[in-house]
Amino acid sequence: MIRLEGVSKTFHPGTVNEVVALRPIDLTVREGDFITIIGSNGAGKSTLFNLVAGTFPASSGSIRINDVDVTRAPEHIRAKYIGRIFQDPLLGTAGSMALEDNMLVCYRKGIKGLRISLNRKLRAFFRTQLEDLQMGLEHRMKDNVRLLSGGQRQALTLLMMVLSRPELIMLDEHTAALDPKNAALVLDLTRRYIEEYRLTSMMITHNMQQAIAYGNRLLMMDKGEIILDVEGDEKRSLTVDGLVERFHAIRHRDLESDEARLT
């Protein structure tokens, strides 16, 4: 459903600040894939997401979503297919607006008209969705989102993202800024939504254990390249030590990320 061919990204080409963030890569994401992505800092993971989402244009190559060439399409056009969550819980919601207003803005994609959709029926629907989170948010629908905790905000972002049933969701370390308890909660919710709505998903994480435990396919990135792409039984049999070894075998150096080893 997503097909990248020869996609690369160089920032500030031809200047002293030139950074090759992504070398030409090919990648096909099939419908129903749940891909976890690991790699050290600066490996190009977020850049890959930004290129797929259209935050900035690719330096080369082509990107197709559902066989539509979107290489040159602006971000808001591609957003119709894509749901995205960032590490920072503040980025997914409008803090100065009420919870229900946030949900209204997100529950359907595309430009909004002069209708007043937020009626009793829709509120009731939002309420049942919030009850499902089991965070008591259903009683706070008129509160400003700013008043919620980071974990609550990220869970809400997740809920709002799946409301519009995107075809692909991209999660960029979306639990990294949360404390362990909230991180586990949000991660659990993520898995539930992905299974329930059969969402095609890509998830960046620094936690190797997580990358192994979740999803049907694992990508390892390093210095702007995808150096490992495993799935199925091979993925299921992976271990943290095994991954570290394979990295060494491919790159002939140690995986430097300490935090990856820690967990």
């Binding site: 971000e75 808001h76 957003a79 919601t93 409008a94 994609k109 909004k112 002069l114 007043i116 937020l118």
Partner: protein, 313 residues
């Protein structure tokens, strides 16, 4: 006196609502306002003098403001210049355009011309006597616009505009083109400002290219004063406090104008006073924020230290 303050407060309150939309809801500080206010006045003035149906004239004035706001937003969108610069460009160009609209003059008197305001006050003169009929007129107009605006900001589009001002990435991720939303939002804001200008021309009995000077700052002062009066996140109260803030601001200006001589103030000092008012508001809200911040910090430290008496964390 009191009715004069209320009338001016409501009249300029319509303009302040426009300023509120850009500065507070869209987070798009827009200075075109200094040009769109006289634009509305000029369109209304020239239409009145030439016998254009009054309601049509009002509509053209609103549309003129809308178009000017759209130009500002488009300059910002397409040339990627900061919104302040885009607004200044539009404002500067409008000065020349306004003089052209007025027929190559800077001022157009409207005395003894039939306007919407004069038609209304005459119609109800039997029931409500003169200065109060003007107040009633602006009360009706001001509140009507306020309620229409409240309604707009409850629509899907209105909520999306609010979300964009808060977090642009969020609405881009929802598949909404932020450039179009800015054209709509800044356009609506300037439409309201031009409408206020059109009413100001009727109230003052003339249209003048310079009547917009310093209008943005006056609107901003009104918005900020209003924020001290009511704290809320409900749109109905947000717009209400803009109107109230505008009335208070006009009251302060009135006091400065008529009693300022006791402390050697002249009418020329009123802009200085307005600027100081805004600075004082900014300083005060900073002080409040830092107090809230430290209160929150103290609370969280206390929470981290565990409940008093050494209970479980």
């Amino acid at each position: 006196m009191i009715e004069g303050i209320l009338v001016e407060g409501l009249l300029y309150g319509i303009m302040a609502l426009g300023v509120f939309i850009t500065f507070r809801i869209l987070d798009f500080p827009d200075l075109s306002v200094d040009g769109t206010f006289p634009l509305g006045a000029a369109i209304m003035g020239i239409s009145v003098v030439n016998g254009v149906p009054l309601m049509l004239a009002l509509f053209i004035a609103f549309s003129g403001g809308l178009a000017a706001g759209a130009v500002t937003a488009t300059i910002h969108n397409k040339l990627k210049v900061p919104n302040l610069l885009a607004g200044i460009l539009t404002m500067t160009m409008l000065w020349s355009i306004n003089i052209r609209i007025l027929g190559n003059r800077a001022n157009l008197p409207l005395l003894r011309q039939r306007t919407i305001l004069s038609a209304f006050t005459e119609m109800i003169s039997g029931v409500v006597p003169y200065p109060w009929s003007v107040l009633l007129f602006f009360l009706v107009v001001g509140l009507t616009i306020k309620f229409l605006l409240d309604l707009f900001f409850r629509t899907d589009m209105g909520l999306t505009l609010g979300a964009m001002g808060d977090n642009e990435q969020m609405i881009v991720s929802q598949g909404v083109n932020p450039e179009i939303m800015k054209v709509i939002g800044v356009g609506l804001s300037n439409g309201l400002v031009a409408l206020a200008g059109a009413f100001a021309a009727q109230y003052q009995g003339f249209a003048d290219v310079n009547m917009g000077q310093g209008i943005v700052v006056a609107g901003l002062a009104s918005v900020m004063i209003g924020e001290f009066l009511i704290r809320s996140n409900r749109i109905g109260l947000l717009t209400l406090r803009v109107l109230l803030g505008s009335i208070v601001y006009r009251g302060i200006m009135y006091l400065g104008r008529y009693y300022g001589y006791h402390i050697n103030l002249t009418p020329n000092d009123l802009r200085l006073l307005t600027g100081l008012l805004i600075i004082a508001s900014l300083a005060f809200s900073r002080y409040q924020n830092s107090r809230n911040e430290s209160a929150r910090l103290r609370r969280s430290i206390r929470a981290a230290a565990g409940p008093p008496g050494g209970g479980r964390p």
